[in-house]
């Protein structure tokens, strides 16, 4: 039994324009200690999916179907008290905008210590000492002094470190990071990524990393889930996803990732904007944007299958699966793309010296 199992999760938002199915039949699992990336464009429902895990949907969002099992217990069925005992204690969250995630009128230290006090039978002094140790652990210099600082006195990167410290305060089994580096300066991003990488490697904490940035995923994750229009379209161990992407959407994302050594004149993009989730496309949801789409794609909905055997998804989360009709043998022309490995020293050695590889 995996630590966290999400099965057929459906999340809806009620807007003036209609019901938005931000998450539509999502299933995945996270095992203890592993780091799983959830990747997709903005609006693909990644944040909704992660917030649903702790029943923290904002606005009109509502979980309308599926199960979220943590250590075998369905989080949807928990009482308010049981849910509070899990939040921040067993499953913790790191938010995209750390500045907004900290309450402006309380000191950073107080907000972290508060978490410890609510979950553990700690005195004020113990909570304070542990908070200072946590601030130190996430790389905040002079932690004892910064304890009494207000959030606005922290820089953006330091705020994110504080939020991570808050999430780590009760040694959670799962850490959900929702776009933890978006909006930060590149240099600051690198520091936060380093911190998360260290965490992923050294601690027992499993991490669910939500991001639109494939570079971040490459650096941190063991496995990747690619989400498109509320559904998972591909799931693979991180290496396989990059070197052998199976779903045309993943291919498009990879092709659209800017690189420093690009000699292309123009960055390719996936044509057309992300689909309307009030009235999603029929058949394969990616077909209006897919360069390989054929007539059958508009009518038949592909399911996640093993691309080699074409068999439906089995129990092993390590299996590479993708949801494209190509792998059930329905496409006539096939998928015409190629992954080139540009490691040949002759053409690119100069650039290689100038910048580090993500992997």
């Amino acid at each position: 039994m995996a630590l966290l199992e999400v099965e057929d999760l459906v999340v809806q938002y009620y807007t003036d324009d209609g019901v938005v199915r931000a998450v539509d039949g999502l299933s995945y699992e996270i095992r203890a200690g592993e780091t799983v990336g959830l990747v997709g464009e903005s609006g693909a429902g990644k944040s909704a999916a992660s917030r649903a895990v702790l029943r923290l949907l904002d606005g009109t969002g509502e979980i309308v179907g599926g199960e979220i099992r943590f250590r075998g217990r369905d989080i949807r069925e928990l009482s308010a008290d049981d849910l509070q005992a899990i939040r921040g204690n067993e499953i913790a969250m790191v938010f995209q905008d750390a500045g907004a995630a900290l309450n402006p009128v309380y000191t950073v230290g107080e907000q972290i210590a508060e978490t410890i006090r609510v979950h553990e039978d700690a005195s004020d002094g113990e909570a304070r000492n542990r908070t200072i140790a946590l601030l130190d652990r996430v790389g905040i210099p002079n932690p004892a002094a910064r304890y009494a600082d207000y959030p606005h006195e922290f820089s953006g990167g330091m705020q994110q470190r504080a939020v991570i410290a808050m999430a780590l305060s009760c040694d959670p089994a799962v850490l959900i990071c929702d776009e933890p580096t978006t909006g930060l300066d590149v240099t600051v991003q690198a520091g936060i990524l380093e911190l998360l990488a260290e965490l992923a490697a050294k601690s027992e904490t499993a991490i669910q990393l939500v991001t639109h940035d494939l570079g971040v995923v490459a650096e941190l994750c063991d496995r990747v889930l690619v989400q498109y229009a509320g559904e998972i379209v591909e799931r693979a161990p991180v290496d396989e996803l990059y070197y052998d992407p199976k779903h045309p959407y993943t291919v498009g994302l990879l092709a659209a990732t800017p690189r420093l050594d690009d000699d292309r004149e123009r960055l390719p993009t996936i044509p057309r904007p992300a689909p309307d989730l009030v009235d999603p496309p029929t058949g394969c949801r990616f077909h209006p944007r897919c360069p390989y789409a054929e007539d059958c794609c508009a009518s038949r909905r592909p399911s996640l299958v093993d691309p080699v055997s074409g068999r439906p998804v089995d129990g092993d989360p390590e299996t590479h699966v993708a949801a494209c009709l190509e792998y059930t043998g329905d496409l006539e022309a096939g998928l015409d793309y190629e992954v080139q490995i540009r490691d040949d020293a002759d053409s690119n050695c100069r650039e290689r010296k100038q910048q580090g590889e993500p992997r």
């Binding site: 606005g59 939040r87 907004a100 309450n103 978490t115």
Partner: protein
């Protein structure tokens, strides 16, 4: 910047406004058509000797600027002279009336907070639900009810028909059970609209705060919903409500002017109305000045309290 320097700067902005308030109050008598002496004595026929004395007392024989400065000097030392209508010392009269108004206003303010804050919290948390709709209509009704009408109705139902809260012993001390009982109806009359205002303001600022990420973050930490609302949301949501304490004060003063008359409560508001009806200008001037300065100082206090409550503000 330190809090002390912030207060200093805020004080510096207040001083010109205080001068404006005194200048406006001073010019009040001079804006009246005709000779200022006539206004001061209430447009009655007076003997030339009285006129000369009045002219000298109010420095009307001097240039306007000097008049203002002399008047200001008198005002600072609380020397408003005697009322030409009643012959009583203006400062003493106001001094006698002020505590009654403070008692009524304070009670109404407490009532407004006691109703408005919990109602605002409930309405914000239950936004869109029946409780919120009921609260919204109640608040609208509270704002739309003329306080003099409400006062009359309460008076009719409770005093005339039911015979409660009827008599105030004429010499009851301000702090006594009899007075407190008598104050019940005026307090409700005066506090209702304020409560509605507090509720609406708090509801709207809580709604805004409830959408903030830090609220989700507080829930994600596993805090009980009560703590999230009362510790995290409310603390931020009261900040905008604090800024309107000056408005609240003005609102209560306006209400007191009307309500004191209905219930024959011997406060400043009733004094003001009596003075206007009797054209007792020195008294009107003094009351208006006291009210103006009180509101300016209240706004100053509000800004300082705000700066203490919100760590982000240190200009």
């Amino acid at each position: 910047m330190s809090l002390g320097r912030y207060v200093g700067r805020r004080l510096a902005v207040t001083v010109p406004v205080l001068f404006g308030v005194t200048a406006l109050t001073f010019s009040f008598v001079h804006l009246l058509p005709g000779d200022a002496v006539d206004a001061i004595v209430g447009f009655r026929a007076v003997s030339p000797a009285t006129e000369a004395a009045t002219r000298a007392e109010y420095h009307l024989d001097q240039p306007v600027w000097d008049q203002y400065l002399l008047w200001l000097r008198d005002a600072i030392t609380l020397e408003f002279g005697e009322s030409p209508v009643t012959g009583r010392d203006v400062s003493a009269t106001i001094g006698r009336r002020l505590p009654a108004t403070l008692a009524l206003g304070g009670a109404a303010w407490l009532l407004a907070l006691a109703i408005g804050i919990p109602a605002g919290i409930v309405a914000a948390v239950r936004a869109g639900e029946p409780a919120d709709e009921v609260g919204r209509l109640a608040a609208l009704a509270g704002i739309a009810t003329p306080n003099f009408w409400l006062g009359l109705i309460l008076l009719f139902v409770f005093s005339v028909r039911l015979g409660w809260f009827r008599v105030l012993p004429p010499d009851a001390p301000l702090v006594s059970l009899a007075t407190a009982k008598f104050l019940v109806l005026p307090t409700i009359t005066l506090g209702t609209a304020s409560a509605a205002l507090v509720m609406r303001l708090l509801r709207s600022s809580m709604r805004r705060e409830l959408d903030a990420t830090y609220v989700t973050a507080a829930r994600a930490k596993g805090l009980p919903e009560r703590t999230v609302i009362l510790k995290h949301v409310l603390r931020n949501a009261v900040l905008p409500v604090v800024t309107v304490a000056g408005l609240q004060l003005a609102f209560l003063v306006d209400g007191a002017v009307v309500v004191e008359g209905i219930f024959s409560w011997p406060g400043m508001g009733r004094l003001l109305v009596q003075s206007v009806l009797q054209r007792d200008y020195p008294v009107i001037q003094a009351i208006v000045l006291v009210i103006g300065i009180a509101i300016v100082l209240a706004n100053l206090l509000v800004d300082i309290v705000y700066a203490i409550l919100d760590p982000r503000i240190r200009y």
